[in-house]
């Protein structure tokens, strides 16, 4: 039963959806403050490479090393986001160009490759990796075994993140302020909210989330460092934020949905079904475009959640 195609696909959906979930949540937090960061792919790769470096270098017991490595990944990616934040918030640079610059700077063929090469990380097996969180006996349970009990700790921590971000946005003072900053920075400013500080903090935190997403690849899914390890997951995460209408709970659903498309070709191939993998791989992008068109055609942009000030710098003198 655990080999039935549905179970296998659902299990791989959760596995491949998890890095998307972390990165999309991070992008969501940044976009809710009004900062669009197209550098997700680059930040993920820097997170992945630095997380892997940490796991190979830090001595100590496995679980502790892994936790520290995730922290290193988050900090490294957060620093990348800080570059973007400085350019677009303080220097009022174009957010699109700056985000793309970040991906070129940090992504495949950039800093992540440079670091991977310089720190000699390629072709080495990971010293520690996130394994199944639950005891072996439970992993053989029907259906829930592969989908739930075989998963690693990062999968479950991601759920905590979803709940945390949802609670933060809906029920806390800073979360409500954040939404005000993203919706109407001038009004937020008039309320006495420090727009610049909010945008800085949330852009950097968003980047840190993307770093954890990248580390999910290099510490759990494929515990190793390969150049360009994330293979475009960062772009899918950007699509996912739109697909989820900027809502954390929908991000969870969407991440597993898109994760299924990432895992499906392998599953089908293993069973001798020959459908071009590109068909599934293209679906997240095509569906995001369709969602975007539907949303914009309905003219219901606000209600559906796109932050009103997304992509625009805030200059007090020019409001």
């Amino acid at each position: 039963m655990n080999n039935s195609i549905l179970v296998v696909v659902l299990a791989s959906a959760v596995t491949y959806g998890t890095p998307l979930l972390y990165s999309a949540l991070g992008e969501l937090v940044a976009e809710r403050s009004g900062v669009l960061n197209l550098g997700v792919e680059g930040m993920m790769l820097v997170g992945a490479v630095m997380g892997f470096w940490a796991v190979q270098t830090i001595p100590g017991p496995g679980p502790l090393v892994l936790i520290l490595s995730v922290g290193v990944a988050a900090i490294a990616a957060g620093l990348m986001a800080l570059i973007h934040a400085f350019l677009v918030i303080t220097l009022r640079a174009n957010q699109i160009v700056s985000g793309l610059a970040l991906t070129i700077f940090a992504g495949a063929g950039g800093l992540s490759s440079y670091l991977g090469n310089d720190l000699n990380l390629a072709d080495a097996p990971a010293k520690h990796a996130f394994g199944a969180f639950f005891p072996h006996g439970m992993q053989t349970l029907p259906v829930l075994g592969p989908i739930f009990f075989e998963q690693n700790a990062l999968v479950f921590v991601a759920w905590v993140f979803v709940a945390g971000v949802a609670f933060y946005l809906a029920r806390t003072r800073p979360g409500l302020n954040l939404k005000a900053v993203g919706e109407s920075p001038a009004a937020a400013d008039a309320m006495g909210i420090n727009v610049t500080r909010y945008r800085y903090i949330h852009t950097v935190v968003g980047g840190a989330f993307a770093g954890i997403g990248g580390a999910t690849f290099s510490l759990a899914i494929t515990p190793q460092w390969v150049d360009g390890l994330t293979q475009g997951a960062g772009w899918i995460a950007i699509a996912l934020v739109i697909f989820a209408f900027w809502r954390p709970a929908l991000c969870l659903v969407g991440a597993y949905f898109f994760g299924a498309f990432a895992g499906l070709p392998f599953t089908l191939q293993a069973r001798g079904v020959t459908i071009a993998p590109e068909l599934f791989q293209a679906l997240p992008y095509v569906m995001t475009i369709l969602v975007l068109v539907t949303v914009s055609a309905a003219g219901a942009r606000r209600r559906l959640g796109a932050p009103g000030a997304l992509g625009t710098p805030y200059v007090r003198e020019e409001r």
């Binding site: 174009n94 160009v97 793309l100 070129i104 992504g107 440079y114 090469n117 310089d118 293209a282 068109v293």
Partner: protein, 367 residues
């Protein structure tokens, strides 16, 4: 106290000084990166410069690397001028390459003078059609063209992969022995090879010359015609443009089609100048479209500056390929392009704004 205030007028010298200053700052930042990671910056830059610009063989290779960047740079510049953020140059280049390769294969047997124009036309058509998807969505549904064109890049890359690796398409070579080992595209007929022009010891690819002509045309179009004037008004102030009765919707379609067509010709040039087959892996690994945005931003959307910057970044890319190896830090090219772009973006602020350092006034004592 630092104050940033908008300049009322922008001095002309600034638009030259700031990009050069940005480059200098980027090199300083790169030096720091190299020093921190224990490389000798002087040797690294020296080797980079040597293998990019010193010697005719090196220059010829740089011309080849600069050609696609010229096209994608113009593609971005043309659209960005109207605040229309077409970041789909990457995908439009792929589709242009697909169309041009099909054209070259279909008309095999005709002489070069026929094959080349057909390839250019088909490449332009492919790129333009692909760019019209985000354009139509933007013009009629106000859908964000940034995200749509970005997503379509991946769709185009997947189509390209599908044609060569996962189907028995018209483009795929199914007969030659090498193709049985590793999937590849059909070799294009000899007539579809674009000629090289020899000037002194230098070899200029036909695509490069074509790109320079297009740069000239774009310059004339944008600075000497009514069309270009309207595009810039729409870019600077969409509301003013609509009060003046300019047809924004038409302009969006026209500019995006033009932008996509230029990227598409870039794809055709890749087929004809360099690869001589539909090279799925090579094209998608190169990332010309994204590098083109770097070029356009650094050139401040001026078509002639695009040509110059494409030459410079092409040189860096070319040197990066040549020097790839154990003792040369890989990823250096991306880091450098990123740093240059960061600095250029930061420099924009200096062009549009003035920074004043004011001494904080001493608190007035209350008598």
């Amino acid at each position: 106290m630092i104050r940033v205030e908008r300049r009322l007028e922008q001095p002309r010298w600034l638009s030259l000084a700031v990009p050069i200053g940005s480059l200098v700052v980027a090199f300083v930042a790169m030096t720091i990166v190299l020093l921190v990671t224990g490389h000798d910056p002087f040797t690294t830059f020296r080797r980079l410069f040597d293998s990019a610009f010193l010697g005719s063989a090196e220059l010829n290779a740089t011309f080849v690397s600069a050609t696609p960047l010229l096209f994608t740079g113009l593609c971005a510049a043309v659209a960005f001028r109207m605040q229309l953020f077409n970041i789909g140059g990457e995908g439009q280049l792929y589709v242009g390459a697909i169309f041009a390769a099909a054209a070259a294969l279909l008309v095999s047997g005709v002489p070069t003078v026929v094959a080349i124009p057909v390839m250019i036309a088909m490449g332009a058509l492919g790129g333009a059609l692909f760019a019209l998807i985000p354009a139509v969505l933007r013009a009629f549904f106000k859908t964000n063209e940034i995200i749509v064109s970005l997503m379509l890049n991946y769709v185009a890359a997947l189509v390209l992969n599908y044609l060569i690796f996962d189907s028995l398409s018209y483009w795929r070579d199914t007969s030659s022995p090498e193709a049985k080992v590793f999937p590849q595209g059909k070799t294009l007929p000899d007539a579809a090879s674009w000629p090289l022009s020899h000037i002194g010891g230098l070899e200029l690819p036909f695509g490069l010359l074509l790109g320079l002509v297009i740069a000239g045309v774009v310059w004339v179009l944008y600075s000497r015609t009514r069309f270009g004037f309207e595009v810039q008004v729409i870019g600077d102030s969409p509301r003013a443009a609509s009060y003046a009765g300019m047809r924004t919707r038409r302009k969006i379609l026209a500019v995006m089609a033009l932008s996509g067509a230029i990227a598409g010709i870039g794809g055709a040039s890749q087929d004809g100048d360099v690869r001589h087959l539909l090279d799925a892996r090579g094209l998608s690994a190169a990332g010309y479209g994204y590098a083109g945005i770097v070029v356009a931003a650094l050139a401040r959307y001026n078509p002639f500056a695009v040509a110059l910057v494409a030459f410079l970044l092409g040189g860096i890319q070319n040197a990066g390929y040549t020097l790839q190896g154990a003792d040369f830090p890989s990823g250096l090219v991306g880091v450098m392009q990123g740093l240059i772009l960061f600095c250029a973006l930061g420099g924009e602020l200096l062009i549009r704004h003035r920074i004043r350092f004011e001494r904080r006034r001493p608190a007035e004592s209350v008598a």
